[in-house]
């Protein structure tokens, strides 16, 4: 299997988000099947789709103070009563698809990032802004249109993932526990 990260322009409105206009680069990591292997090694998984009612969504949101956007959950149940969930988190500048494994008692067993999309500011599309990087000699070029492989920069905080995990553990407590 050949995985590669893609730089793509996404019509953000079409995705239901309205953050900034501009470009988004997406990095794809494990497939759902690989994440199941990674987080639930050896466990048997059967799909148990869960649909949250409006009341459940409101109640979960009130308890964890994180917005519940989707009523249709992508959920699997393990033989021992644990859960495997595929979900999406929306951070400050990024949209992250994650997979989370919960133990039979609702504890987080592991988290995989499946896809990470980061939006560029509109300045990247601005020719004047781009011009400053052009013609600066060998070994220096601005990379926005190619497969971005390895980026070093001031550390990205993974704080947004905590909010998403809090929402999912609250969803377990209110809904999945008895599903």
């Amino acid at each position: 299997m050949q995985r590669r990260s893609l730089l793509k322009t996404i019509l953000l409105a079409a995705g239901g988000f309205c953050v900034t206009s501009g470009q988004v680069f997406a990095k794809t990591y494990l497939s759902v099947e690989q994440a199941q292997k990674s987080l639930c090694k050896g466990a048997s998984l059967r799909p148990v789709p869960v649909k949250l009612t409006k009341e459940q969504m409101k109640s979960i949101q009130a308890a964890c103070k994180v917005r519940v956007r989707n009523s249709d959950m992508k959920t699997w149940k393990t033989g021992d009563g644990g859960w495997f969930i595929v979900d999406q988190i929306i951070g400050k500048h990024e949209f992250i698809d994650i997979a989370v494994a919960l133990s039979p008692s609702g504890k987080v067993k592991g988290i995989e990032v499946l896809e990470y999309r980061e939006s560029y500011g509109h300045e990247v599309a601005n020719p004047k802004w781009l011009a400053q990087f052009i013609g600066r000699g060998p070994g220096k070029r601005l990379e926005i249109d190619k497969d971005i492989r390895n980026i070093s920069g001031a550390t990205l905080s993974s704080v947004h993932i905590t909010e998403g995990i809090n929402r999912l553990t609250e969803t377990w407590a209110q809904v999945l526990r008895s599903a």
Partner: protein, 275 residues
């Protein structure tokens, strides 16, 4: 050649592992999982936030008695102290109380008020002791160490890159290019440079999210530089720690040379200055 890319939230950031080899998916996933397990192990030992970590146990009582240290803790602490010495305290792992007072790091109780520096740490072969109550924070160095161990577990027979939110190391680094986020545009554009050693780390004072801060050990004030510092070194632990030295010392070149490292600074206009 088959490849696998895996990413988990660890060490307060996103850790990404990329592997390429003539092996099937399951073999690559096993290697990647072993590397993530190693990073989780270092997080359990060296987290300042976790009151149960080895670091927190040392912080709670090394001023009262000799406390045994794990081989990993000894290696990291020993390097941190060597760098503190070489940089005249520009890098100092005892700055944590000032970060606790600013609310950047959590207070696990009785955080010392009295100023201390790295010279109050006495590291033996298997134990550590402090002259006075202090708080060690390995935030500027343990991430790099975790990256080094993860890469070592994967093995050099696979093409591998481990990137912990910008602290990265790769097995087959010669002839490779790497991107560095520029200070301009909130760090969302990158410049391409050739990889000069096995590891590369970048730090900046300005576009970190508000809960992060770099304090100057001299006056305990937040650093207010608009540029970013990147360091190439043979270990990511050295690269990670040396970025702080580059940001904090007026002339970091002698320290970089001493640790066989190459440094560069990128300013707001995207100009690269080599040190």
């Amino acid at each position: 050649m088959n490849s696998l890319r895996q990413c988990r939230p660890l060490l307060g950031t996103y850790v990404e592992i990329h592997l390429a080899a003539d092996e099937d998916d399951d073999c690559l996933l096993d290697r990647s999982l072993a590397a993530f397990e190693e990073i989780s192990r270092i997080q359990r030992l060296m987290s300042f936030h976790d009151p149960e970590s080895e670091l927190s146990r040392i912080n709670a009582s090394a001023h009262l008695a000799e406390i045994p240290v794990s081989p990993d803790m000894r290696r990291v602490l020993s390097f941190a102290m060597a760098l503190a010495e070489a940089s005249g305290g520009a890098f100092d792992p005892t700055i944590a109380p000032a970060l606790v007072r600013r609310g950047v790091l959590p207070d696990h109780g009785s955080c010392p008020e009295n100023p201390a520096d790295w010279r109050s740490i006495h590291l033996g072969d298997e134990s550590v002791r402090f002259d006075q109550a202090l708080r060690l924070d390995l935030g500027g160095i343990a991430k790099g160490y975790a990256v080094d161990l993860a890469l070592a577990v994967i093995g050099d027979d696979v093409e591998a890159t481990v990137n912990a939110g910008g602290d990265l190391a790769m097995t087959h680094w010669r002839g490779r290019d790497v991107e560095i986020r520029t200070p301009a545009s909130d760090g969302r554009a990158t410049l391409s440079v050739p990889m000069e050693n096995r590891a590369l780390a970048t730090s900046a004072a300005y576009y970190l999210e508000s809960e992060h801060v770099i304090l100057h050990p001299g006056n305990l004030k937040p650093l207010e530089r608009k540029d970013s510092a990147s360091v190439f070194a043979s270990s990511c632990m050295a690269a990670d720690a040396l970025t702080k030295v580059v940001l904090l010392l007026p002339d970091p070149a002698p320290v970089l040379r001493r640790f066989d490292a190459q440094g560069l600074v990128i300013d707001l206009e995207g100009t690269i200055v080599r040190l």
